[in-house]
């Protein structure tokens, strides 16, 4: 049995791996850490992240363990309402129960901030959360990630970090008109990522993904933001690295790299047309 301090420390590590700080802090307006309010602009509207500090009124201070795990793994709030998939429970559902609790333990060790949540800015027809039940029936598969026996321990660790905790597919995949990830194009990048910008193809396709990156450079990028050509990450990815990935063990970053390099390569060029000499787009984002 580990102590609360040990659990919080483990929780901090998992919290960094899960990238919670990047979305739940309103960096643009110098908002307090984890107090929410960060705008996530999408083609469906603008979502504002909620306060996840342990404030009992505006944050999650009144949540039970079950409330927290249910939110992460089922996308259901303590009042029973459904979360929009802007909250990546679609990936977090694959998280282990004990890891979710360790993250909660860490969050509850942080300072509470009494900052009210901001309502999402969505068209009227998307404001009925009851409809999200139907969306979940179509696109959401609940359940912990299963280990693949035929793969190495490192690969399985990488899969867990990429799919469940890091929720990389949420930003690095194109979505359909209803905001669901195109499962045939997982990790193939999108020109309509969160915030409206392009998010690159991270499958090991040599021409349009990271297949041409030297071995070792993927883990190095996750740690530092440095790309093989000397360029550096910017935007949200720089925050994900600074606030999370750079704090992970090198072995975990290498595991993530091993998993990413094992994905089926998908040819999907993300650069804007004027920057690309050939059209190798296999499938277009519906939002383009």
């Amino acid at each position: 049995m580990c102590s609360a301090a040990q659990s919080a420390s483990r929780g901090e590590y998992l919290f960094n791996a899960a990238g919670c700080a990047a979305c739940h802090t309103d960096v643009d307006n110098d908002g307090p850490p984890l107090a929410g309010g960060r705008a996530l602009k999408t083609p469906l509207g603008t979502f504002y992240s909620p306060n996840i500090t342990p404030d009992p009124v505006y944050g999650i201070g009144g949540w039970s363990d079950d409330d927290f795990v249910r939110a992460l793994r089922e996308g259901i709030a303590p009042d029973g309402s459904h979360y929009y998939p802007s909250f990546p429970y679609t990936s977090y559902t694959q998280m282990r129960h004990e890891d979710a609790l360790a993250i909660k333990e860490y969050l509850f060790s942080r300072d509470p901030v009494a900052r009210p949540n901001r309502s999402h800015d969505l068209p009227w027809y998307l404001s009925f959360r009851q409809l999200l039940w139907l969306w979940k029936q179509m696109y959401f598969e609940e359940g912990e990630l299963k280990e693949v026996a035929s793969r190495t321990t490192t690969w399985n660790r990488g899969a867990y970090l990429v799919l469940a905790l890091g929720h990389c597919a949420e930003c690095h995949s194109p979505r359909n008109y209803l905001g669901a990830i195109d499962s045939d194009m997982l990790f193939a990048g999108t020109r309509s990522g969160p915030g409206g910008g392009a998010v690159p193809n991270i499958t090991p396709d040599v021409q349009t993904g990271i297949g041409g990156w030297p071995r070792g450079d993927v883990a190095y990028f996750l740690q530092t933001g440095a790309m093989p050509d000397g360029d550096y990450a910017g935007g949200e990815m720089a925050e994900v690295i600074d606030e999370g990935l750079s704090r992970l063990d090198r072995s975990d970053l290498e595991a993530m790299a091993e998993y990413l390099r094992s994905l089926p390569p998908i040819t999907h060029r993300i650069e804007r047309p004027e920057e690309s000499s050939v059209d190798e787009t296999r499938e277009k984002d519906p939002w383009e």
């Binding site: 915030g195 392009a198 190095y220 050509d229 360029d231 550096y232 910017g234 935007g235 720089a238």
Partner: protein
């Protein structure tokens, strides 16, 4: 003789008014954007080369000073590369036909942009000092600061693409 001098003077004035200013004052927006992109790519090229050297992947440490010095010199020009009409939304009004990843925040937060660019200047100057004094222990840390400064600027002032 006086008439000849007067003609020369008038010619000089006419040339000054109609010929010289366009050569020195007119900016081709597309050209500016492409120039900036090439300069930034050359900076990335030097930084990427330094990265390989610092990580011990290439046994050409005698070239480190050259790359560090070039990175420092180029970084000193960064703030000159973003005239207002070459970044959104002005660039479009100015007739730009090529894409730019520069964000409007450069014009909206000029002091913050200047500060971020200055950090790259300071970091590369520090790196050059470390390289030239042969302080190998300080090298990874000095280079890390350069990388952090690149990332810091890209985070707020460049359209994401990574």
């Amino acid at each position: 003789m006086i008439r000849l001098r007067a003609r020369l003077l008038v010619s000089a004035i006419v040339l000054t008014i109609f010929a010289v200013p366009p050569l020195i004052a007119e900016m081709n927006v597309d050209g500016m954007i492409k120039y900036r992109q090439n300069v930034m790519k050359s900076l990335a090229g030097h930084v990427g080369a330094i990265d390989r050297l610092v990580r011990g992947q290439v046994p050409l440490m005698d070239q480190l000073d050259m790359h560090a010095t070039a990175a420092r010199d180029i970084s000193q020009t960064i703030t000159t590369l973003f005239p207002a009409n070459s970044i959104p939304p002005e660039a479009e009004f100015a007739g730009a036909t090529v894409a730019t990843e520069a964000l409007a925040s450069i014009a909206e937060k000029p002091e913050e942009f200047k500060k971020a660019a200055q950090e790259t200047v300071d970091a590369t100057e520090e790196l050059v000092k470390v390289v030239q004094t042969g302080n190998k222990q300080q090298l990874p840390l000095a280079f890390k600061r350069v990388g952090e400064s690149c990332k810091g600027c890209h985070k707020d002032f460049r359209e994401k693409k990574e």
